[in-house]
Amino acid sequence: MPHNNKIAIKKVLSGNFGTVLVLIFLMCIMTILTPKFFTVSNLTNILIQSATNAIIAVGMTFVIVSGNTDISVGAILAMSSCVGAQVMKSSGSIPLGLFASILAGCALGLFNGTLIAFLEFPPFIVTLSTMWLFRGLAYLFTEGRAIVGLPESMMNFANGKFVLPYIVWVMLIIYISCHFLLQKTVFGRKVVAVGDSKESARLSGINVKKITFIVFVMSGFFSAISGIVYMSRLNSGQPIAGQSYEMYAIAASVIGGASLTKGGIGNILGTLIGAIFIAVLQNGLIILNVSTYWQQVAMGIVVLLAIGLDKLRKRMS
């Protein structure tokens, strides 16, 4: 077993080696360009900033590895955090609010999953539609206003730390357990099998519909968790929250090795590196005082470069 573990770890490391190099390279550049970058407080900041995206991206990676896409995650984040905030505000109970939030996220994921897995609607179109649908519902639900006045302790959670900020702990725990889930469990291997070849998986007796369904519910679940983190940081429920988060989540998965055109590939640790990569880039550009327009341009170029370099490395070996 230890021998085997070593091989597995090696595999994951070598698979992500390229992305890690690119990430280190990016961090070196930032460090050279500004002394404000490589400080403990800024690095912690980056981790906190990456958390919302990173958590959504976990669900997204499962979806992409299963051969699907989910672009409604940002809208699910908004809707579920608004529901959570409202419940929290009117009941005064934090656990109840968190529960409502997670329930809402899972319910929306379940809606996507039902249409895609059981009615066999194409995933892209379904989640494109529900992206508008859920976002619209979030606006209707809040009448377009932020829900403020949440209990104190939400704020305390966002700012609290035990060695690392609580938010970072949440992120790390999710990553470690989901890496394990995808790599080591029967469920995870079935997700990979469905992503590689739906037909082969079906003929091997894997319940493809069930797996597809679960993966979308998971995506809703993680969007809700991310919504909770978001809500705690802003201490409010925002209907505009999570705008274009789907794109960041997809980018994180793809930088981490997943493929939008071919299921069955991708891994959770890679996604974490992808999410941190994006956060480093955003953070660095802001510290460097780059204008928002140029930030977008730089974002596009660097993500292309990251993926290109990784492709090149794979071809060379």
Binding site: R189, K190, D196, S197, R202, L203
Partner: protein, 504 residues
Amino acid sequence: MEESRRLLEFRNISKNFPGVKAIDDVSMSFFEGEIVALLGENGAGKSTLMKILSGAYIRDGGDIILDEEILPHVYSPSDARKFGIAIIYQELSLISELTVMENIYLTHEPKSFPNVIDFKKMNQMARNQLDKLGANVDPQKNVKELPLSEKQMVEIAKALAVDCKVIVMDEPTTSLTWEDSAKLFDIIRKLKKQKITVIYISHRLDEIFQICDRAIVMRDGVVVGEKRIKECSQDEIIELMCGKVLQADLKPQKASMQIVRKEKILEAEHFSDGKFINDINLSIYKGEILGIGGLIGSKRTELFRMICGIDPKQQGILKIKDRVVSIRNAEDAIKNGLGYLSENRKEDGLSLGLSVEENIVQSNYQPVNRYGIVSWEKVEKISNDFIKTLNIKGNSSTKVINLSGGNQQKVSISKWLHAECDILIFDEPTKGIDVNSKAEIHQLIRDFVKNEGKAAVVISSDINELLAVSDRLLIMSKGKIVGEFFDGEIEETSVLKCVTTKGI
């Protein structure tokens, strides 16, 4: 043959894949109008060499000389076609969303205006091309709607639709019945008369002896010998291929005793799909291997996919061990001890992008499942056992897509032997598998049914295989069962007679 012109020559070709020397300093020549068999065990390097010729792979070193001209080091498959090289790939290369005729004339469509495709003409041309093969396929149908055997015919028609000097056929008959193979052989003989060189790859040695002039044998990426077909025997060729004399006991074995057909393990009653299959009844007994034969369009694959819940049925009652079971998908089927090995490993038989071990455990996670967690140690052990017994060239973490065709097929078989089913339906089990391993796989199927309470079905287009393994043989035609043979009655002439007279 001596006077004819040398058309194609390989000089010191080599090709490496990560960790594998697939082709190692290979040289050979082909003459005009010659039919050459390229032989060798699974993974010997035949397909790789042919893909180098067709421009699909770039060789690491060596020269290819066609018609006295050295071909460039790098060229694309479409360049190759311009040089006059046509190829029928082992794994079909059709585009399933396009129609039959669009596939046949892909990239050289007949045009009316400069850039407008003349579909009417294309239909006509495709029809002619298919008629030559005696294939009754509608050119306007989408390829994805065709059964595998018809896809194979379209693939052949596609290769023949271009003018060429050399045509490579990489296992063209694996999913064809003997009748369609015979039509293909007629065409090959015609090509020979037109001075076209045919390079023919097959693991069915009787075919080689029917049509080829010369055989070149490869092993582990090198050429190990060459024989004139007229001057040698099958045994000599087998010896060259595997480097040892084929043991007599490797020849397929029949059940040592007559099967006692007492207990039915499976009964299918009134199965219909509402289209081609109408009210079929059949039973399988414990301990037997039931062979299923028939021509193209016999709908045997369709029947068994329906019984296993893979494709929807219109009607039909299934009893397993005297109990009526409701099977709506493959998952239900496996739970009830019924497994189906697909005839098409590329489309639905294997997860090509995953490793050998992941493919093998896919049919049954139970033995490696510890409270939901996969024990990779066990996965590796199980797959290494199969790799050893089936002599798969590769290791447990090799991606299946990087294996040779025959080795992929062996993975597919391992997957179903691992499924712990009571009834296994093998649809073309030895498709693409070399002579030696074929006998071993027949033996594995025999061993499987020897266990208490097991039975197997073997669907095959290879009559020799059916004769070798079946304890009972059903002949199907156009969605009906038209003949049944028991133990001793199963011999070639009567079976063939049944197929040809009732089959049409």
